[in-house]
Subunit: 108 residues, 2 copies
Amino acid sequence: MSYFQRHIFFCLNQRDNGEASCAQHDAQSAFDHCKSRVKQLGLAGPGGVRVNKAGCLDRCAGGPVAVVYPEAVWYSFVDKSDVDEIVERHLAQGEVVERLVLDPSIGR
Amino acid sequence: MSYFQRHIFFCLNQRDNGEASCAQHDAQSAFDHCKSRVKQLGLAGPGGVRVNKAGCLDRCAGGPVAVVYPEAVWYSFVDKSDVDEIVERHLAQGEVVERLVLDPSIGR
């Protein structure tokens, strides 16, 4: 049994060299929104969901990105409604949001 | 198939309010050492291993901590030789290093 049933990591990496990075896409707001929704829905904590900050997840070309473990499902999202869908369907119910899944070919 | 075969997240959280945090235990050095060893051993990259920075993993009482996904195995480590063992046994070969596994009762 996993300590957290589902653990989502948001890349919040900021690059200052002109290369693409998730922070340019307001990943911090998406993280904050996700954390707040998970708390509101009573999902947070051991045995439940953990919403985590992460450094570069190395799939920058698809940014902003997040990954949900232990399922190893990677998402690219655009706005808060995308994040809501990840929370309500995947984090709450374990259902993969196929339309937001990152293409396997997308890397750094 | 997971984009990374194994993805290890090190908590590098720094608290300035006197509470325990992984950064006080030199988690940054452990992260740097792990990243360097994984690269030296040719394990890094898609289909292989990713060594990642993370914010607070919320199991501060066991700090410094790291978690390996998709296995969801949590470790508490003391020194570089502990990190070497996690790299050589778990990240390279998929073998859990039982002596370093965090007790399930340890939380924040």
